[in-house]
């Protein structure tokens, strides 16, 4: 047993950091969610008074949380569907030896690059590009497509599409690389056998590549879903924290951020706990799938 002890020593830093920065805050968040505790106008402390489940009741009775959950999911789906299609296509091309693509490494790096830009900087860029008198509108006016500038951020669909589009741009490279790794792991003899049997490219893709890729595909879906639930920086910056128009791009985390204004620990805590439960359920699902695929 002696030779094992060093392993535990090396684990100490992780657990220390985990306990201080994750476990304790998690505990206090759950604890806070049962209290009325905020600062009146930022300066005068109110509470903490124990109120039981009143914060949860307020959250659910207003119905807002359902709306924000819906917004979050819609924007995630709008971004994820094109993302997975493009990523699959790119990964299939990159992994296909018969295509003999040149500069694969170069393109792999290039498509990953949007992910290196800070999301907030990226959102600022889009905010400037799509402003009412911004370059995109100016261009469209000059070409003659529009007669008056189109207010991209004042219409639900275009505002959501911008958020989804940015998420797509930022993450499709990452997904491509994950899927590519999975595809390159597939035994080449399977493809050769299929070709000998006379299967065409479409059949090979749907009958061989996709089924073998399933566990990785599920991993991508679930991690993207968890990331999507925590969608915050892009819509926050793009809509100036308002989730406009009419709060149709307001995500759950943006709503959480609204409670920061009055340092409302109670409501913020309750909302965080709900998010924690949703994310927890999704994590259990991915864990199950992973262990099953290993058997």
């Amino acid at each position: 047993m002696r030779h094992n002890r060093w392993g535990y020593y090396f684990l100490i830093p992780f657990f220390l950091v985990f306990i201080i920065f994750q476990l304790i805050p998690l505990g206090t968040t759950i604890y806070n969610s049962f209290f009325e505790h905020y600062f009146r106008n930022g300066l005068t402390e109110v509470g903490p008074n124990f109120v039981g489940l009143a914060n949860y009741r307020t959250l659910f009775s207003s119905g807002d949380i359902g709306q924000y959950f819906k917004n979050t999911m819609i924007m995630w789906v709008m971004g994820f569907v094109p993302q997975i299609i493009v990523s699959l296509l790119l990964a299939a091309w990159f992994s296909d030896p018969s295509l003999r693509l040149r500069g694969r490494k170069f393109f792999q790096s290039v498509i990953y690059m949007p992910n290196l830009i800070m999301a907030s900087a990226f959102a600022m860029l889009f905010f400037a590009l799509f402003a009412d008198t911004g370059p995109i509108n100016t261009m469209l006016l000059q070409i003659g497509i529009f007669r008056a500038p189109y207010k991209f951020l004042s219409h639900t669909f275009s505002a959501r599409a911008l958020v989804a589009g940015m998420n797509f741009l930022m993450w499709f490279g990452n997904t491509t690389i994950l899927l590519l790794a999975g595809m390159l792991g597939i035994d080449q003899t399977l493809y050769e056998a299929a070709e000998v049997d006379g299967a065409n490219a479409t059949q090979i893709f749907f009958r061989i590549t996709l089924p073998i890729l399933r566990p990785i595909l599920l991993y991508v879906v679930i991690t993207s879903l968890i990331g999507g639930l925590q969608l915050f920086d892009v819509p926050q910056i793009l809509t100036n924290g308002q989730g406009g128009p009419n709060r149709t791009t307001m995500t759950l985390i943006m709503y959480l951020n609204k409670h920061l204004y009055s340092k409302n620990y109670g409501m913020g805590g309750a909302l965080s706990v709900i998010l924690f439960i949703i994310t927890g359920i999704l994590s259990i699902i991915i864990f199950r799938i992973n262990t099953r695929s290993q058997q």
Partner: protein, 474 residues
Amino acid sequence: MKKRIISIVLAGMMAASLAACGGSGASSSGGAASGGAASGSTGAATTEAADSGEGKVLNIQCWNDEFARRMSDHMPGYEAADKDDATKGGKLGDVEVRFTVTPSTDNAYQNNLDAVLPENADAPADEKVDLFLIEADYALKYVNTPVALPVADLGITEDELANQYQYTKDIVTDADGNLKGLTWQGCPGVLIYNRDIAKEVLGSDDPEEVQKAVADWDTFNKTAAALKEKGYRITSTVNDSYRVFSNNVSSPWVVDGKINVDDSIKAWVDMSKAQVDAGETGTADLWSDDWSKGFAKDADVFCYFGPAWLINFSMGNVDDGNNEDDGSRTFAGGWGATVGPQGFYWGGTWICAAAGTDNPTAVAEIMRQMTTNEQVLTDIVKMDNDFVNNKPAMEAAATDDSFAFKPLGGQNPLGMFCEGADKISLANTCEYDQGCNESFQLAMKEYFEGNATYEEALQSFYKSVTEKYPELEY
């Protein structure tokens, strides 16, 4: 090896581009602060401060370089460390002055104050906040709590403040009648109009003639329609006229813990909706690029509502011989000023002494010099085109042609400002004003743009306010 060379080159390029950004930032702020007048030599009182066991560092919390520049240019006995960047601080006698700049965006400035002020008394001596600046919109939030010291505690008497405009004192007086802040500025607003458009549409750019076309809201709306026919917009955005309505309310935003929408605010909603629908104005936010595009020389915006600082601080470079031509109407001197439909004020910066300060003498000295010394204040008017908080000085300046504003084509608007400053009433302010005003304008934007009915927009306003202030009801 090849890879390493490439990476070194790339890193070098990044470093170079970062350095370039830093360089341009410094030079752009330099232009605004230039022309530093020689400070007077009346600062004898301050030199004793350090000997009397007071702190060696005087910390000032602010959100931009405005006060730092006023200090650097006008405070007697104060030596700025860097003439080009006033926020670097300086020396007042033996006391080192340090500025902490936190931008107002996203409430960051107030969040910072909320974090440091309540614990100020226990902070280490060199880090104690001694002075902090506040704006009118949220002044009561700090004035009604013990974090700001009454100026009487610093030994400043009412007699010394007799020349200041009453409204500048009302804003920072707490519920018990203690005056807790002082300002060097007065911010009565006027209607600032585009002279070329006035000539073309109204036939004259004379302030008195233009005033006839904007004398009340009905004629204002008729003028808006006339402007629209010639392809001009009356204002850049609906939010331009908001303050004029919100300053003339007959009841505050919160009455007995309930949110209350005043008739004057409702009148703004109705007028704005009609103007937006008719294409006479836009819906951009104040300070956005879409809003400030009207500052350009050949823009299509007829007027802005604003005080003196809007003209000299925000609408473009003033042609004072040091600044570059930025293509703005301000530089070209093509604006005019008139009273407009109703009186209003906008902004202003108040200086408050922080509870727990360890430099009360120096703090009192700064407050006295910057807000009551008539010579300092007159210099500020001359150099910065500010409207200062001193009645006799302003009334004298109003009749003096040497105080003509260049951006206004040589018009001297100080008489209008004086008249406005006397009329400002602050009977209906409350500590929730800022949060309510911001939420209301944002919520109504949805109504103006047709994304919501008035009722829906009102509901989303209530929602947004109760998120900010959970203690309120509607």
